[in-house]
Symmetry: C2
Subunit: 325 residues, 2 copies
């Protein structure tokens, strides 16, 4: 049977188990038609993943679908948004039905978890790549932004940054972790990061600024610093580290992974002194550790690091697709 | 100077000449924030263009940007929508500043023409490709859909389908057109198709169904037929043909280009008998020819063709990226 573009799309991606009420028309016309509820602001983000650049070419398609969506969800989390719709533009070198089935099953599982609907997209032939457009709602005026941090605000991170980069190193055979459980934990932090959607929503009225950690703490906290026009001082001794990372990676290397490894998809956010008590209640009950790692400061330029009371500098940078290697 | 991902985006794509009032935050945070006006339904479409597949690898970047946006605008036109925002995910093999300047200048020129704003995107390294996400408004309940055509409704097309495919044939040196003006006209219909935005809006309360011609009349009218559950009878003698096409392409070949050449980005729509008078007024004043080419019918399956009163069949198909060549 010739498998044309249209039947391919229809077969794997035209599934709607629980149609959303805000979707008037989904896949199947020239455009999707959507009705945004009153007093909700729409948050939109776009991410492209290219084989060999953003993911290993031999990645399990189920992991790929999960991660592609999770990475986009993380952008919504950083704004405090509630996910609603996805568009998926998928470029494939060939029609591989087993691959498509595994990919789409995994995608729809995660979409279902977040009560999201796939509302459209495109399927084209070419080198393996995909672009996801994700849409979410934030109550009007309550979105978290990168700008807004003030001197004196406390800097927090969720989870334990560095785990994802260690997981990648294991997958690339650059790091040997003999303990199977630790290795699995670290690999999973790389392949199946958890978007901090609930945390983002809980931060809506508490955080003064927020971002998700995609490129490492140096680069991403740097974005808050730049947008807010205010420096940041981070105590590297305070950086949270998972037990698995501590057991298998030397301290200096673990620090490098946390600061510049990227792909943790944890949240980094700032909280005024006045909101710290409310923060402990709001985000504390969600079961994911969150740690105060420093303070915004008018006295420093950019992101400054302190260890044992002394200023230290690192020449590690965030991941940049177009930087010279 | 090292040109990183972020400075690259900032330099060429972070331009806002006339910010839209519905854009609360555009480029520069984890998500864009948008406020949809009351009683407007959001129309969203996504299109991917891959080098060597959707465009010639040596295409002028200004033409590429124009066409990438025009093709997406055409999807909005087919719904009767008014364009508002664009997201652009651009994958580039290298940083070529002259290319980026020409591409972005052309993109912003067309965005400005339609009072649209670029609200986000992504820039990644990889084989040249791009995915555009386009957003528009339609007054609630007034969107044009593919479903809705009824037996007896008249079938129309705007413009002169086939010109774009002839223009492509010229660019590929598969068609020789000695008259320079005609050659330029046909090339331009391929490289710079006009999205029929105004026509789509004028059709909102008049057409029973609509689609844009991206894959050729056979395939695209076929989508209306399938969605509406009603056959279509097209009189091939009634198909409009440009003077340039008539002069340089034999009639049977011209017919093939019109029916299966694709990339015309004209509108094909159906109109109930009762609305034909209003149609002539509403769309007639917009300066683009529109032609009645047939009628929806309960007596035929799919799309049926008539020539000189006799039924004829064609085995040409619409363009399909995944069909066997």
């Amino acid at each position: 049977m010739a498998c044309g573009e249209f039947s391919l799309i229809a077969r794997y991606f035209d599934r709607v188990r629980n149609p959303r009420r805000d979707v008037e028309a989904g896949i199947g016309d020239d455009c999707a038609l959507l009705n945004v509820p009153e007093k909700q602001t729409l948050a939109i983000s776009t991410d492209t993943l290219v084989a060999g650049n953003h993911f290993l070419a031999d990645i399990d398609p189920a992991d790929l679908a999960y991660k592609a969506l999770a990475v986009n969800l993380s952008d919504l989390a950083a704004m405090g948004a509630d996910p609603v719709w996805l568009t998926l533009a998928l470029t494939l070198p060939e029609v591989d039905e087993a691959w498509l089935e595994a990919f789409s099953d995994s995608l729809f599982e995660l979409l279902g978890y977040y009560d999201m609907q796939l509302i459209g997209g495109d399927t084209t032939r070419g080198p393996l790549a995909m672009t996801l457009g994700i849409h979410g709602y934030v109550p009007a005026g309550r979105a978290l932004k990168r700008a807004g941090a003030k001197p004196g605000d406390w800097i927090y991170v969720t989870g334990t940054p560095g785990d994802s980069a260690a997981g990648l190193a294991i997958l690339l055979n650059q790091l040997q972790v003999v303990d199977a459980k630790d290795a699995e934990y670290l690999r999973k932090r790389h392949l199946r990061p958890t978007p901090r959607i609930l945390q983002g929503q809980a931060l809506r009225d508490l955080a003064s600024a927020a971002i998700d950690l995609s490129d490492g703490l140096i680069a991403d906290l740097g974005h808050i610093v730049k947008a807010s026009g205010c420096g940041a001082r981070v105590d590297v001794n305070a950086l949270p580290r998972s037990a698995a990372l501590s057991r298998h990676v030397a301290p200096e290397q673990a620090l490098r992974l946390a600061l510049s490894g990227g792909e943790d998809y944890e949240l980094c956010f700032t909280v005024p002194e006045l909101n710290r008590g409310a923060l402990d209640v709001a985000i504390g009950q969600l079961g994911v550790p969150f740690t105060c790692i420093g303070q915004m400061s008018a006295d420093v330029d950019g992101v400054s690091f302190i260890r044992d009371g002394e200023t230290v500098t690192f020449d590690w940078k965030g991941y940049d697709h177009f930087a010279a290697p």
